[in-house]
Subunit: 144 residues, 2 copies
Amino acid sequence: MFSKACEYGIKASIFIAINSYEGKRVSPKEIAKEINSPQAFTAKILQALVRHKVINSVKGAYGGFEVNKNELKYIKLSQIVKAIDGDNIYNGCGLGLEKCDENHPCPVHEKFKNVRDELKQMLENTSLEDLALDIKSGVSFLKA
Amino acid sequence: MFSKACEYGIKASIFIAINSYEGKRVSPKEIAKEINSPQAFTAKILQALVRHKVINSVKGAYGGFEVNKNELKYIKLSQIVKAIDGDNIYNGCGLGLEKCDENHPCPVHEKFKNVRDELKQMLENTSLEDLALDIKSGVSFLKA
DNA sequence: TATAAATAGGATAAATATATCCGAAATAAA
DNA sequence: TTTATTTCGGATATATTTATCCTATTTATA
């Protein structure tokens, strides 16, 4: 469904969010440890999220990654996914046809639409705040 | 969502189904041309589908790939997907956690369930017959 | 039985995704 | 202004997926 990079990106963003509540910036090292991911690779993904303005970074001593805690409820999963995996999961044909629309649909076009809409709803309605609060309250977990 | 291999596998199966209606076996060459896929790679995928008994092959002169046309309505998309991509799309955690269940859910576990269930429904309720008839009647297409 | 036509399957190549490494640039604080 | 700390970004390595190639095996028919 999502690429590894995207999985790491989502989990990293949640961990950053949790810490931003407390005004703490976090490093790739801390993040990778907390979400059980390869550190250098995770750092690359964080860079991409910064470039897409999903999260913020501060260079130098006492720097790290953070998000504006007032924006947490407005940062949706869809933004993270689009920043890393692009919007192929939104617009791409389920069977990989170059051209696939109502007028020239692939064999699963109609049936696939429901699945995609469900996914879209989920990604667009879920905020970093929702996810971070669940972790803080012990309802869900960032690693096994 | 699906791997390239799986996309090819689904489209190839549909084309084989269409021809089996008319008692015709088809070759990887014909299939690849019709679904716009790399021939040798497609042949490999067909082998996998045969091993998983989703389709049938006949070696030698006048051979080719076919499906029992009486079984067409009982062959579901889910069988093709599982044969090629495995059942990770069914059981795997949306964020790649080794262990992710009701008792120890990843951050998107609950929200993801709806999406997966929708996908599952779609794959288990769609038969090769459904898809083949749509192609025959010009409702949908195997290539752009 | 010989031949031609097909699938099966191993070996290899190319492309992409995942992962690592290291020096450059930025920045806070001593 | 120097130093320690930290992100940035290019180069490279590894793993996986996608794709190709070639030979072996099977089988219908002449």
